[in-house]
């Protein structure tokens, strides 16, 4: 008889109505909209059953609250980590988690899973091309016309935020030869008269692109420099500028474990302050870049490594006599940030990932995110125009690099990832077409702060938030806390350990040269003070 009873119960449970009722109940529970048992059901419970039920409900509520807090913290962290939001942020980082945990139904989960499955089928190898923005041309377009139209729209969007009394700026781009580049820039600053009118110059910097191909032409390679100024033509010529150089591999600055690493600009400012050179006398602070092809032997990967090797400080030659020598004698210095001087570091790299993802090609036209600037110079010009920085307050502005990285162009062709150090031909400052790898990571501005710039930065924040949908100071890792190397990387033990690693690699036939291995982790302060 018991068997018949069980079979009857099974039949009732498997009836379509019962299955439907069960599924509904599951959905209600998963969506979080369940209100628990009814009052009648609760009243029918024995006291001990009721106590157990209440305890279980309380535990569930605690768990839900903890999950909501964890979700909010994750969302906050993600928000603070990102430098881009909106469509470009979603493209670069993936969708931003919602600030509040949402009730998720089975249908929602199924819809997300279905979409993810479709995405995998559409794109099995993981390369993601951004979806063109609404209204973007779909067919072939004239690159120049399209780029000009997008730029005009960005200029119009910037207009309401611009400082009322901003100066007219000129970016003069000059070609130099790698070996003589600093002397050439110094000479140009003299011949153009800018060296005699430093109050009209905002900065000079080496354009961080790698121009030309071939490995044997390091000295004669064309290197471009930009001079950002507000001068009209026809200044009387002056003496060439001075440009003392601070080598990043020398220990200029004293830092202990856990202290903040110095910025290149901090050291340059320490020099300028000691020399009594104000922003109206400073021509520029320029990080020195070295771009080299490395590796590429049989079975070895090749790299085109861009790294900061130091900083040049450009100023009229008559100033700062003997100060460099004195500072060298006083090393290591403290080089703390200077009060009253603002050092702004903007994350260009993240924008480049959205609008110029392949360094061996030109930026994408039509732009997948036309509200973002196409070049770091456009971003620099936007900041200068909105904050309204005057040349006499500027120590230096630059488009530059930070951490060493491999600037080779990477393309995804189906299952293949293609890496190349041969860029497309693009016009150089002398009018010649040369192959170019376009690189840069940061836009750095150093200026004397003032109340009008506080207002200007408020405008910039609004522009960043409303137009760029960005927080470009995020992800720049400015002045990170320095860390001592581990026990295995220090002293005799470190040397022995590295030697053993090399022997092991050699025996196993693996390894190759890691171009980043010998680059010190911090500039100007390595090795750290004990």
């Amino acid at each position: 008889m018991a068997l018949f009873k069980t079979l009857k119960q099974v039949k009732q449970a498997m009836s379509p109505e019962a299955i439907k009722q069960g599924l509904e109940a599951s959905r209600t529970e998963l969506s979080g909209s369940s209100t628990g048992l009814t009052d009648e059901q609760l009243a029918a419970m024995a006291p001990e059953q009721r106590a157990a039920y209440d305890a279980a409900m309380e535990q569930t509520a605690r768990g839900q609250a903890e999950a909501a807090t964890a979700h909010r913290e994750h969302a906050d962290r993600e928000h603070a980590r990102r430098a881009l939001y909106g469509p470009a942020g979603d493209h670069v980082y993936g969708p931003l988690p919602s600030a509040m945990p949402q009730a998720v139904s089975v249908e929602d989960t199924m819809a997300v899973t279905k979409e993810q499955f479709k995405d995998v089928l559409r794109n099995p190898f993981g390369s993601r091309k951004p979806t063109p923005p609404p209204g973007a041309p779909t067919g072939a377009v004239d690159r120049d016309e399209q780029a000009a139209a997008e730029r005009a729209a960005r200029t119009a969007a910037r207009e309401p935020y611009l400082a009322p009394d901003r100066p007219e700026l000129e970016f003069s781009r000059m070609a130099t030869r790698s070996k003589t580049q600093v002397e050439e820039v110094a000479a140009y600053l003299g011949s153009s008269g800018l060296s005699g009118r430093a109050d009209l110059v905002l900065g000079v910097y080496r354009v961080p692109d790698h121009i030309g191909s071939g490995v044997l032409r390091s000295g004669s390679r064309v290197v471009e420099w930009d001079v950002v100024h507000a001068a009209a033509p026809g200044l009387p010529a002056a003496a060439p500028a001075a440009a003392p150089f601070f080598d990043a591999e020398e220990r200029w600055v004293r830092r202990r474990d856990g202290e903040r690493a110095p910025l290149d600009e901090d050291l340059a400012l320490a020099y300028l302050v000691r020399a009594g050179i104000g922003p109206e006398q400073c021509l520029g602070i320029a990080r020195t870049l070295q771009i080299t092809n490395r590796g590429g032997g049989e079975g070895d990967s090749s790299y085109t490594v861009s790294q900061v090797t130091g900083v040049n400080v450009f100023h009229p030659a008559a100033l700062g006599s003997g100060v460099f020598k004195h500072l060298r004698g006083e090393r290591p210095l403290s080089a703390e940030p200077v009060a009253g001087v603002r050092v702004e570091v903007l994350n260009w790299r993240v924008i480049a990932r959205a609008v110029h993802p392949e360094t061996h090609r030109r930026y994408v036209v039509p732009s997948p995110f036309p509200y973002l600037p196409s070049t770091p110079q456009e971003l620099l010009r936007a900041y200068l125009g909105i904050v309204g920085i005057r040349p006499e307050d500027s120590y230096g502005v630059q488009v530059t690099e930070d951490k060493p990285w491999d600037i080779q162009g990477v393309s995804q062709k189906g299952p293949m990832t293609i890496s190349t150090n041969r860029g497309d031909e693009q016009p150089c400052a002398d009018g010649e077409l040369r192959r170019r790898l376009t690189a840069s990571s940061r836009v750095v501005l150093v200026y004397r702060d003032g109340p009008e710039y506080v207002e200007g930065r408020a405008r910039w924040s609004a522009y960043e938030r409303d137009v760029l949908q960005a927080a470009l100071s995020h992800g720049t890792n400015t002045r990170p806390a320095v860390e001592r190397p581990s026990f295995l990387d220090r002293g005799v033990v470190g040397r022995l350990y590295r030697g053993a690693e090399h022997v092991s690699d050699f025996v196993e036939g693996v390894g190759g040269t890691d171009p980043f291995e010998k680059i010190p982790p911090y500039r100007y302060c390595w090795p750290l003070e004990e």
């Binding site: 781009r173 070609a175 000479a187 140009y188 011949s191 004669s220 110079q377 693009q426 002398d430």
Partner: protein
Amino acid sequence: MTGDPDVTPIGFAATDAPGALVRRRRNPLWLVLAILFGGAGAAAIAWFILAQLDNAAGREDAVANGRVAALRGAPTPAVRFTGQGDYTVWLELDGVRLSNNRELIVAATNCAAAFERGGSTRFRGARQGASVTIGDRSTVGTFSMPAGAVALTCSQQPFGRRGRQRALTAERTFFVTPGDPGIGWQPWVGLFGGIGLLILAAPAFGRYRTGYLRPR
């Protein structure tokens, strides 16, 4: 081509602009050196190649022709000829396009020479030091024979991975030329010296192009 509207190109302004304070001086000595290095390097390499071509016996100099037996195939008839001194066996590889297969076929070829006056010698492509290749011909090896007649047979023997041995299953033709394909040490010095000079020519030209800055 889209230029960057944010920047104004001004060329090599430091050295070429009308009011430039400095000018780039280029020492013609570096250009002369670059040309000399480049020319001498190219000439030395060309000399090496010509020496090889001159020394290599042509097809028309062959004193005997034969066939190399295929791997696991029927033996081919021995080639007989009369002479004295050094002789080189050349394998004809026309129709074999992949360089890997060419090297495999040369390495797998084994030859045996039996002399009329007694004695014999064996040699194989895999043990000849350096194989000389001219066009579609590669050497299998060189042997010395006493005056008189010789009977020479060649066959392909298993060599390398089994999966690649399909290339050895066809008969090949060979011929024998008098002399040794080797050249003296001087052309080799020319080859390596020439490569070194070509490498030096590049930085010399770079040095010329870079020049140095001088006040106007």
